[in-house]
Assembly symmetry: C2
Homo-oligomer: 280 residues x 2
């Protein structure tokens, strides 16, 4: 694999930092190439501004158009272009972060806001038909993506009926609306609940699980999100009534929905959210 | 009302900027007080670092603990303390942003990451029982909150069965996991789809709708999210099997789930997502 690992945690001596180091060591042992963007260490600027696009201050910042024009002209700021080059190089993208307020830390959200510009990541058109390619196709097609996230809450509370919402659904805007939207094949995430309370033995188990997931990554079956061109959606991009007619919620946008009841009373365990995962 | 309006768009001459100006003018006419945090205009720094907490560089950045210690000691950075003061003052909080990658722009996500620290917004304990107050109670209890968001996609595609996911669910981590989590009562959002293609007449209709929503805000029935202490959740914070037994997805965490089929073929209209809204 050619792995591009995007890491967003302010403290290298954290659980996130330890897992990142363990993961990178495993990739090396397994003979893979990797490149790392450690956003905090790089001092990554997450705020989209007109400067990104070399736009004169007097011009209106017309989001998508400004980014497309700048991308085509090679006028994007150098830090953005450098990240895009790593994405071009990679066949596998790993996005690692602690879950803050049920989403990505700002520094990582702003990596997507700034790097995933029109004509690069999305808005790419089919050369023959002129149709815009989205959801299962797009600028980043041909790549695999995997999320690694550490979560303060215990597993059941972020499971299918947990109070915080099911992790699969909390990650929907990232896994479906961003990674899959731009064409990537997204494998189930590596999620570590109860991350504030992990003992040494638990850590070893989690690190071992991560190593195994990395070893399996090239052949792991991706989440079966429905492609835009699957025939499952009508012209308004609404899921046809006969597709997942009884499924409520975001998981209807995957072919196979198998919400699993959370196990209760069991010790905290690394959770691989199962609802979007293909059947074994 | 004492309205604290948090605004996150890089371009004042945008639809978002125009709606903000129209909203503020309406508040003035209606005799309300308001304060504005225009995050781009303020140059808001969205990146959590140890500097936020006055922590020595040699100390580990232990997220929640570091923020709590700094909050209690009055050692938070001045920009954070200033935002907290506005939240203390307000009885109503408005969060306005364009939907980027199905979430908040980084500058706004990092406003929550940095301002909503432990012991201020969450982790507050009941004086009598010592229990931590979350979901319907917390540091910001007694306030109303409303999201205003502009969305490039057309209404049906972000409706209940739309390909991008239902907006109510895309906003769950913000409306439920952040605003309601810290104790606020969240009214249904003002959502403007097809925001890139709004004509002058459409704009007037949307601005009029916003003015009405602001006028109604003090008496609008909040989204009926389930309180943590409602008895609906078990000790693992999992929704009891007899609550919303047939509801799939995140909307099970509201008392009344009424997914409405999207109207198709109708012209783009301001969408008030209805699934979480109380019945009329």
């Amino acid at each position: 694999m050619k792995v591009f690992w995007v890491f967003a945690h302010p403290e290298p001596r954290s659980l996130s930092g330890a897992l990142r180091d363990a993961g990178v060591a495993a990739l090396r042992e397994q003979g893979h190439e990797y490149r790392m963007s450690d956003l905090y260490a790089m001092g990554w600027d997450p705020v989209v501004t007109g400067d990104d696009f070399g736009a004169p201050a007097a011009d209106r910042l017309l989001g998508a158009s400004a980014s497309k024009t700048a991308y085509r002209a090679g006028a994007l700021r150098a830090d953005i272009a450098a990240e895009q080059e790593k994405l071009r190089w990679a066949d596998t993208v790993i996005i690692q972060f602690p879950l803050w307020w049920y989403g990505m830390p700002a520094i990582l959200k702003g990596w997507f806001d700034r790097v995933f510009v029109k004509d690069f990541a999305y808005g790419v058109r089919d050369a023959d038909t002129g149709r815009t390619l989205v959801y299962g196709n797009g600028g980043l097609v041909g790549r695999r993506a995997m999320v690694i996230t550490t979560i303060g809450a215990p597993g059941p509370s972020i499971g299918p009926r947990g109070i915080h919402g099911h992790l699969d659904e909390l990650l929907f805007g990232l896994q479906h609306g961003t990674l899959f939207y731009t064409g990537m094949a997204v494998v189930p995430p590596v999620a570590v609940p109860s991350a504030d309370r992990l003992g040494a033995a638990e850590y070893e188990r989690v690190a071992g699980y991560l190593r195994q997931r990395l070893a399996d990554l090239p052949t792991t079956e991706p989440i079966a999100f429905r492609h835009r061109d699957s025939g499952d959606y009508d012209d308004d991009l609404v899921l046809r009534p006969d597709r997942s007619p009884d499924a409520g919620g975001l998981l209807m946008h995957a072919h196979r929905c198998m919400p699993m009841p959370p196990r209760r009373g069991s010790p905290p365990a690394p959770v691989v959210p199962t609802a979007l995962a293909p059947p074994k």
